[in-house]
Symmetry: C2
Subunit: 488 residues, 2 copies
Amino acid sequence: VFVNRMPRYEILSPDAVDVLERGWKRIVTEIGIDFVHDEAVELFRRSGQKIDGTVVHLDPDFVLETIKTVPPVFDLRARNQARTARIGGHHMAFTAVSGPPFFRAGDVRREGTFDDLQQVVKLVQHFDALDLPGTPSVEPNDLPLDSRHLDMTYLYATMTDKAFFGSALSEVNALDCIEMARILHRGLPLHDPAPAGGGPPVTSMLSVVNVNSPLRYDTRMLEALLTYARAGQASVVTPFLLMGAMAPVSVPSAIAQQTAEALAGVVLTQLVNPGCPVIFGSFLSTIDMQSGSPAFGGPESAKGLFASGQLARHYGLPWRAGGGSLTASQTCDAQAAYEGFNTMLSSFLAGPNLMMQSAGWLESGLVACLEKFIVDVEFLHTLQEQFTSLEIDEASLAFEAHDEVKHGGHFLGAAHTMERFRTCFYRPFLSSTENYERWVRKGARDTTARAGEQWREALEKYEQPLLDESIREELAEYVTRRRRELGD
Amino acid sequence: VFVNRMPRYEILSPDAVDVLERGWKRIVTEIGIDFVHDEAVELFRRSGQKIDGTVVHLDPDFVLETIKTVPPVFDLRARNQARTARIGGHHMAFTAVSGPPFFRAGDVRREGTFDDLQQVVKLVQHFDALDLPGTPSVEPNDLPLDSRHLDMTYLYATMTDKAFFGSALSEVNALDCIEMARILHRGLPLHDPAPAGGGPPVTSMLSVVNVNSPLRYDTRMLEALLTYARAGQASVVTPFLLMGAMAPVSVPSAIAQQTAEALAGVVLTQLVNPGCPVIFGSFLSTIDMQSGSPAFGGPESAKGLFASGQLARHYGLPWRAGGGSLTASQTCDAQAAYEGFNTMLSSFLAGPNLMMQSAGWLESGLVACLEKFIVDVEFLHTLQEQFTSLEIDEASLAFEAHDEVKHGGHFLGAAHTMERFRTCFYRPFLSSTENYERWVRKGARDTTARAGEQWREALEKYEQPLLDESIREELAEYVTRRRRELGD
């Protein structure tokens, strides 16, 4: 997992933080959060909150007191221990695109299939810059709806050795994913609040619980949230806010709402299981007010990222930024690149601990695109280097190089250069510096065409990570049995 | 001129600043700067610096003392007073691409012509986001070499009412540009150190003096620098550093070199004319160490921008960032967009007072491209909005909107939204949020194709700004007379 030791870009004055804090406090107190789930409401009632039907009016002091049990840092276990993802502090974990129903590669654009998902998962395994596949990176529309969470979890467990998400669509799904994590991590506790060898709490599965914004958690999401929390598994509690639709057309107002919604969900996880790992989620963008379509990569979402990160740190919570590399563009072109890059660089500046939608997102998230995936991996490589601190000391001044070259010469052959030329600069794998004539001779392939070659090459190089055969068999048997039980 | 009141992104600790300071001091003292010009050397000798042939060994205390007369803020006069560009403080002025020999628009790629330059200048005049055309935005290869500075200056004076650059290729060119500025700004002093009505010093012309890095100023550049300084006209003293070629393969080393070179040139302007406006220039990138080709938009140049801005502020000098929207890409594709956006967003974070190469740069600066120009204007619009501070107060929380919509509804029809929907969000003019089917129906035009429509539309909408006919005639007569004298 990448460690971002560069400064955070903070835009909120202490006064502004106070205003936003008053904002979410007033929302949770006066309007309240709707939890459409009996047990959730009961948990809040027992802790002394004011209930009105399914609406919970929260005492802000209770909220701030309750979130104190959230671990500021935790480890998300991968079956390859070296790939266990630390979440919190200066650490940043990156996940591929999540949720798109469509798949695009080359000239093909179609409904996603299980085979398409497999391709994305292979790419995630191949590229070290990514820590987890998406949830899922493309919807396997060719599999039966009720049991596809089994196939997907089996896929993640066998095709990668990285950490992965569990399904949060229902209680049944959550329980299956937890059981499969138990099989995969045989002999290890699913949740270890205080590992014997030291280090932060460890958990085995991450799930994304989206708020049904504004100010409502629906029944199925709450079922999953409660199920995972009981098992000590981490949730990413995420208000999904497009300003103009699910939030007011004002960044401060949306930030206040986001904080109210996310903190309320975080509190619920701690009521179920104090100390359970949980992530303060955010996903904030706008809609195009002329068409009502979502818009990404604009100035409002960048400012929202800066403010969200600052507030998450203010409350001492691990923080997820929505994306990543977000764009409304229909194809992997200049717009896809600049909208995606604006979201991603602004995210690095804001410093999330989990950055979702970091590779492959296209068409406002409707499409998982392999060319865009490659472009985004180039972004990740670039920005991981860009957010690695410069070492500035006497040696870095390389006075001897200046003394060698002196006036009007060049450094190409200087001793200092010769010793370092292989590693001195970031080396892109997608970008080209070829001169025009050579580029034309070689076929005038633009970035997207080159990205198409890169994902094909990466798929060829993909190697399935070894897995204990008895664990694989046990997972397969679980899938077969449960599929039958679910009637698929 | 845009005012950037967002925080600067600073990555240097006080210790790091000290190390870099020791770095440039050692360079100017021990290695010295080569000034290939008798008068320049004589000025340094008279001020007590140690001279060795044409190499000037500078006393760092003398450097720091001498730059104290540089105005931290000045106004660069435009003939339309509303477009006078304030340089310094939180102000950021933007100029179009400068220097490319080639021109590209649509499928055409050719040697630039005067007509091509005219098109770029019209676009600069059309888009408010830009404050000056380039120097020149494309080389008019179809005009005689010795007199084309006359035609270009006439073009800028008549086709725009914005401020513009003077030629720094020779003393003759500089003197002609100064005379033409005198004609254009009839009755006004070319340099007004203390305007009667208050405000910062005013100057009428800006020129770019590139250092012949490493550590050398050549004769022609010094002629221009001295000529402009005598007339109280501003220079942008710019080390043009590609690490690996003109600087060592180390960002701190290159920053020390850049500071040594730029400060030495700034000092010279103050020896000629204390109080003369001058800008600390920077242009820092890398070469591809495999091919030797220049590379742009990478992590090293971003860190260089952050460090350069911080040092320029440390010395209290107006600062120029190299670009802008820099890329090595051969075409206006995803790479052009992400490299350009990385440079430009990093520049906004670093906070230059003059940002050159802000629109139209392609192919490592060999090409002025009209499609890229439009893409870059979209960047400028986005980032000027992104770097406008959020107002965070009680009203911005829009509690009444939350109170109206409450739980699980939407804000599309809320009163707060209805009152603001026209202006609440940044509206891109190039980016598209159309859904895929509609986008395909309308011709599946990618960003570059749409940019092609946009520059054509902008050229149609271009209106030549009115200019006093007697001034225009006087400029034309000057051009005719001087062209004859120069033998073209």
